[in-house]
């Protein structure tokens, strides 16, 4: 069994999905977290000068969704067939877009401007997306985003939306009962619950 080593900052950010996948799969991993001050020196050792990076048997894999996809495929969380796998990819890409969409607000140093940007993000970008995904969940009718069983798509939505709830409260999900249920479903999975309780507490 390969030993996984995940390299990232001491944040959830773009590494948390991989951590959730490995936790759910019951797979042991070395959760390497470095400080911001250590990053400039480590940057040169990462394949594309970015993190997260998954180290497998001494080989380095970059790109957060690629890492998550690789782990999902290896541990039965990718979807049952080509089409399901593609749908899971699609949902993971959605979350990626939302994370990227949030970056300007996150990086804004002026507190008032930041508040404005976050509000715009939540009321426009997120609200629009929530309405769409709520309909998809309803249509799929299984409680999961893809097919009948848990896939990394569910974990991706849990990861990001549980963070949004933490930061902004539950109100934005008031008309999204299916998405709310999905978040609760994942939160209650024993391995996920265990991980969330034991992981380092970080702002993002």
């Amino acid at each position: 069994m390969p030993v996984y080593k995940l390299h990232y900052f001491n944040l959830r950010g773009r590494a948390e999905l991989a951590r959730l996948i490995m936790s759910q799969a019951g797979v042991e991993f070395e959760d390497v977290r470095f400080e911001r001050t250590e990053w400039p020196a480590l940057k040169a050792t990462m394949p594309f000068g970015q993190v997260p990076v998954l180290e497998v048997d001494g080989q380095m894999l970059a790109q957060s969704n690629t890492i998550s996809r690789y782990l999902s495929r290896k541990h039965d969380l990718a979807g049952k067939d080509d089409w399901e796998q593609a749908l899971a990819d699609m949902y993971a890409d959605n979350i990626n877009d939302l994370m990227t969409g949030m970056r300007p607000a996150f990086l804004e140093k002026d507190a008032d401007k930041q508040k404005e940007l976050y509000e715009k993000f939540m009321t426009e970008t997120v609200a629009t997306h929530v309405a769409i995904v709520e309909k998809q969940l309803e249509k799929n009718g299984t409680g999961h985003l893809v097919g009948k069983e848990l896939t990394w798509a569910d974990l991706a939505y849990y990861g990001f939306f549980s963070f949004l709830v933490e930061k902004f409260g539950e109100d934005f999900l008031k008309d999204a009962s299916h998405l709310k249920s999905l978040i609760a479903l994942v939160a209650e999975l024993p391995n996920i619950k265990k991980w969330v309780e034991s992981r380092p507490k970080t702002e993002i």
Partner: protein, 209 residues
């Protein structure tokens, strides 16, 4: 009734890192508690007249007020074991700190540019190309030649903390555009991992600059 021992030092500045952060890093390194007074702009106007130069930062020690960020840093560094092991080393530490201070001075046009995006971009590019890059190149060579873990001599000094403050600021301004220099980045990591410094970085107020 409990009596709290009064802190020996009181540092006055705005609520930012700016020209006070070097003193704060020195006090953090020395593990010396102090009053970290941060004025809001309106509040500052009430205190301005009693400050020697009408400027901040100011260090209050034994009821006396000392202005000038580098004078404050030197005073604290000498008292708390960050001044090297002999006079010549101290002079080199002093010179290095002045050099880094000059480099940071090149960032001032960025703030003078205000809302003018074009002027701001030009000021940022200038700060990178004419100030930060040459400094980093010089420090990289110095560290490579000396093989030392620190800028002057073999122990942490005021110069390393000044460097840390500068690098930290540059990371905030440039992110990925920051020149990749192995020894320079390693020094930044090294200082950042000193437990007392790491602790300060974690608990200090988060401000844009």
């Amino acid at each position: 009734m409990s009596t709290r021992r009064r802190n020996e030092y009181k540092l006055y500045y705005f609520n930012s890192k700016g020209r006070a952060e070097l003193a704060r890093l020195i006090l953090a390194y020395a593990k010396v508690p102090y009053d970290d007074v941060r004025f809001e702009n309106a509040e500052w106007l009430q205190h301005k007249d009693r400050m020697p130069n009408g400027q901040l930062p100011v260090l209050e020690w034994k009821g006396q007020l000392l202005p000038q960020s580098l004078a404050i840093a030197r005073f604290l560094a000498r008292r708390h074991n960050l001044a090297g092991s002999d006079e010549w080393q101290w002079a080199k530490i002093d010179a290095m700190t002045d050099t880094i201070n000059d480099t940071l001075g090149e960032a001032i046009p960025i703030y003078r540019a205000g809302e003018d995006e074009e002027k701001k971009k030009e000021a940022i590019d200038n700060f990178l190309n004419k100030a930060i890059e040459p400094l980093f190149k010089r420090l990289e060579k110095m560290l490579d030649d000396s093989g030392s873990d620190y800028l002057i001599g073999n122990q942490c000094s005021m110069a390393d903390l000044a460097f840390f403050s500068c690098y930290d600021f540059a990371v905030g301004v440039f992110g990925d555009r920051l020149p990749q220099c192995q020894h320079v980045a390693a020094l930044y990591a090294r200082v950042g991992q000193i437990p007392a410094i790491k602790n300060w970085i974690e608990k200090r107020p988060v401000t844009p600059f």
